[in-house]
């Protein structure tokens, strides 16, 4: 595919770069889910680097004791204190240098009849508080110093909406902002903001517009009421533009579009707004500033919910305020983050059957759609070319580091009617491995400007842990067999590996306390959704559960 050929011929002015080379980097702290609000998952610390990583050794471990559903959370580190949340919302404040517990808070057990999967991907720390969402769909604020409950507010009736919170919230100025799950059910997704001090609702932006709102005309009949789109992960923020970026989920019903898409709809234009899109909102009001729909009429369960990576790069001779965004299909978009203009795209999976390609202006070509009365083999599967685990971006190499899975699914649609809060996927989609391969995942380094893969490290099974990049030119991640490893960021050479004793489904971070750099990774396999689905494809494997944070550093005195 040719890249960036559709640049405007009018280059009358240049935009000064808003981001310095390492503006999206973290340093001593790891203050946000994505590291910085630019979601790079990149640490500027370089004490641990390619020359000494072979000496990396455990410094401390912390066992949470909550083995419900592994440890998925991104630890947050602020001023030498780490804030960690488990699947069942047991929150810990730990001395980040030693693992000593400072306080803990146990959210009350959620009644068994609350629907939804157990899981929690992290807290947000700001305004003297620790914020998290819950399985029974509350936003909760704890006192950062003591762990005392300060306020809690109901986001939605989980039993009614079939929705809840598994994502880490994000704080922008005086608001704590979160997106919910539920978009595979009959539900209308939203991003919602609460005042950090009072817990009062600040705004709620519905992904699916109501009648009278722009975009509602892209929905057939009253299908907008249960159109899905739940933005179930965490966004990014550009303070210079004062824009909040978020990815939205799939349209519902997932695999059957007759109820929601008018016959003969032009799928080279927006269909079922604002599902499967990247949106830019005003964080103060929740008003939509621009949108870019990646998958019009998403009929493959290809959410656009994943992380939005903000970066400034020279593209065709012009410095652009860009963003990088990977759709669940692995199709990765480069957009102008001030305007939403399409700048280019590249596709990361090696096996792709859902489309034939993408035009130079970003339109999908050769859609291979599931259809009633048929079973269609689609690659990648609804588990995604990448799952919710995050990419990482290094400004030193300019590469986006991506854990890619090669899985397919046989999709057979059905036409069950919508029933609020109940499953509305409308399809069976057993997963399968693509034929003729011996490896089913790879860690890749992609150059977002050229759209070319710089290197790729294959792996036999699946990769479902986030990437961490550092200024030591290292890339860290873990595999389901329990290995946590470091690759050379420039060429993918494996430089170090440590068997942590349980599979990896979490997000590693780096931070420092008193000048010592640490690498911390959650461990523990088990994941009711994609983890279990993936494991079912490898029946001889017994990937181990767990819920332990393992923290590495160079040996004392070796620095």
């Amino acid at each position: 595919m040719r890249f960036f050929t559709l640049l405007s011929s009018i280059v009358l002015f240049t935009i000064a770069p808003a981001l310095a080379q390492d503006a999206g980097a973290t340093r001593a702290d790891w203050p946000h889910y994505g590291g910085s609000p630019y979601s790079w998952r990149y640490s500027a610390l370089d004490q641990i680097n390619t020359s000494n990583v072979k000496s990396l050794t455990p410094a401390w471990m912390f066992q949470t004791g909550d083995y419900a559903e592994n440890l998925q959370a991104t630890p947050i580190v602020v001023d030498g204190v780490m804030y960690l949340i488990t699947a069942q919302a047991h929150v810990f404040a730990l001395d980040a240098a030693t693992g000593r517990e400072i306080w803990n808070y146990r959210y009350p057990p959620v009644p068994r009849n609350i629907p939804g999967f157990i899981g929690n991907r992290g807290v947000a720390v700001a305004d003297g508080k620790v914020f998290f969402g819950t399985k029974d769909d509350y936003m909760v604020a704890l006192d950062q110093k003591t762990g005392r409950l300060v306020w809690k507010v109901n986001i939605d009736d989980a039993r009614q909406c079939g929705c809840n919170i598994t994502a880490a919230p994000m704080v922008v100025k005086d608001k704590v902002i979160v997106g919910g799950t539920g978009g595979d059910g009959a539900h209308r997704g939203y991003i919602t903001a609460f005042n950090t001090r009072t817990g009062r609702l600040a705004w709620r932006w519905y992904v699916v517009p109501a009648p009278g709102e722009k975009g509602n005309e892209t929905w057939k009949g009253d299908s907008w009421r249960f159109g899905g789109g739940s933005p179930w992960l965490t966004g990014s923020y550009d303070p210079a533009l004062n824009l909040l970026y978020w990815g939205t989920g799939n349209a519902a019903a997932d695999f059957y579009d007759t109820e929601r898409v008018a016959a003969g709809a032009d799928k080279t234009k927006d269909v079922n707004l604002y599902t499967a899109s990247v949106v830019a909102l005003d964080p103060d009001t929740g008003k939509l500033r621009w949108h870019y729909q990646e998958v019009p009429d998403d009929i493959w369960d290809y959410d656009s919910s994943y992380e939005v990576v903000l970066l400034d790069r020279q593209i065709r001779g012009r410095m652009r305020q860009a963003l990088l965004h990977m759709n669940k299909s692995g199709l990765t978009f480069v957009l102008d983050r001030a305007t939403g203009e399409y700048l280019g795209s590249f596709s990361v999976p090696e096996v792709r059957t859902w489309i034939a390609g993408v035009t130079e202006d970003g339109k999908l070509v050769g859609r291979n759609e599931p259809a009633m009365g048929k079973t269609v083999s689609i690659c990648p599967s609804a588990a995604g070319a990448k799952s919710w685990n995050s990419t990482a971006y290094s400004p030193r190499t300019g590469f986006l580091y991506v854990p890619v899975n090669e899985m397919c699914a046989d999709i057979t649609p059905n036409d069950h009617p919508a029933d609020e809060g109940k499953n509305y996927m409308n399809g069976d989609f057993p997963f399968k491995l693509p034929p003729g391969r011996t490896t089913y995942s790879h860690v890749d380094a992609w150059d977002p400007v050229t759209g070319k893969r710089a290197w790729s490290m294959p792996y036999k099974y699946v990769l479902l842990a986030s990437m961490l990049a550092t200024a030591g030119d290292l890339v860290f991640t873990g595999n389901p067999e329990g290995d946590f490893f470091a690759l050379d960021a420039k060429n993918g050479t494996k430089l170090w590996s440590y068997q942590t004793g349980a599979g990896h489904r979490g997000s590693a971070v780096s931070y420092s306390v008193n000048g010592r750099q640490y690498i911390a990774t959650p461990t523990g396999w088990h994941s009711s959704v994609v983890g279990a689905l993936a494991q079912s494809l490898f029946p001889d494997q017994d990937w181990r559960l767990g819920s332990t944070l393992v923290v590495f550093a160079l040996p004392e005195g070796s620095r």
């Binding site: 809690k152 009614q160 009421r225 069950h416």
Partner: protein
């Protein structure tokens, strides 16, 4: 983690025999419930095959075990309790269907009467069913009754349970939330529904805006005074005929 049939406790009424045609109909209903509720791709596979959750067909499960797992769920897994998420007939049907997947040719299909308020709601018809929907429908946002009231297993229990169903729409609209006080904290006053005042903390709902926020104030940091200008305002979100339907719903699910 695999589900093993061990530690069976639940006794199912086995004595009732039904005509074969009825069993076939119930199993067919169970297949439809299974397809919509259980074989959802991320969970069990179609016809009990493997998918995200374990295979259910040909596992040698007996019906009592299936009954227990469906009703109670499996702790610490994605298998939730369905006792309040399906109506009693649907529960019995899906249990019977999974039994047939395990070679039980003539499963027990008697409804044991274990229904609760939630399944009561799913059995409602006419105006009461419409009222149930109006009570909690998402499209009304926080203007719906269920923002502050839990009835029939749905809604958020901010307000105390309704002791008595109002006799008429006029009586419903005349209801006042008792004991709304004024909380003063950090120089700011707000309408408050006090939950507890102890040595550790004062817990109250801040009713300033919907949804109400539960605040846990440190002792001495909040002062409550009787009375408030706050008034229940959600009625404006509903037409009188809709309120009448909601009353029908309340009468159907709230036992005197």
């Amino acid at each position: 983690m695999s589900i093993q049939p061990k530690g069976l406790i639940v006794a199912v009424a086995l004595a009732v025999s039904c005509p074969a045609q009825n069993v076939a109909n119930v199993v067919k209903q169970g297949e439809a419930v299974f397809s919509k509720t259980c074989a959802t791709g991320y969970c069990h596979g179609v016809r009990g095959g493997p998918s995200g959750a374990p295979r259910l067909a040909a596992r040698g499960f007996d019906q009592a075990y299936i009954d227990k797992v469906v009703r109670q769920g499996v702790p610490d897994t994605g298998m939730a309790s369905f006792s309040t998420r399906l109506s009693p007939p649907d529960l019995v049907a899906v249990i019977a269907y999974v039994a047939t997947l395990n070679g039980i040719v003539n499963p027990d299909v008697s409804v044991d009467g274990a229904g609760d308020a939630v399944s009561t709601r799913s059995r409602l018809t006419g105006e009461a069913a419409r009222g149930a929907r109006l009570f909690s429908e998402a499209v009304r946002g926080f203007g719906r009754c269920s923002t502050c009231h839990e009835v029939g297993g749905f809604g958020i229990p901010v307000a105390a349970p309704l002791a008595k169903v109002p006799a008429s729409v006029a009586e419903l609209m005349a209801l006042r939330t008792p004991d709304v006080k004024t909380a003063t904290m950090g120089g700011e006053s707000m309408p408050a529904l006090v939950l507890s005042q102890g040595k550790q903390s004062a817990v109250f709902y801040d009713l300033t805006s919907a949804p109400p926020v539960q605040r846990n104030a440190e002792p001495g940091s909040v002062k409550f005074t009787d009375g408030s200008s706050w008034r229940h305002s959600a009625f404006v979100a509903y037409a009188p005929s809709e309120l009448a339907a909601i009353l029908d719903y309340l009468r159907a699910v709230i036992k005197p």
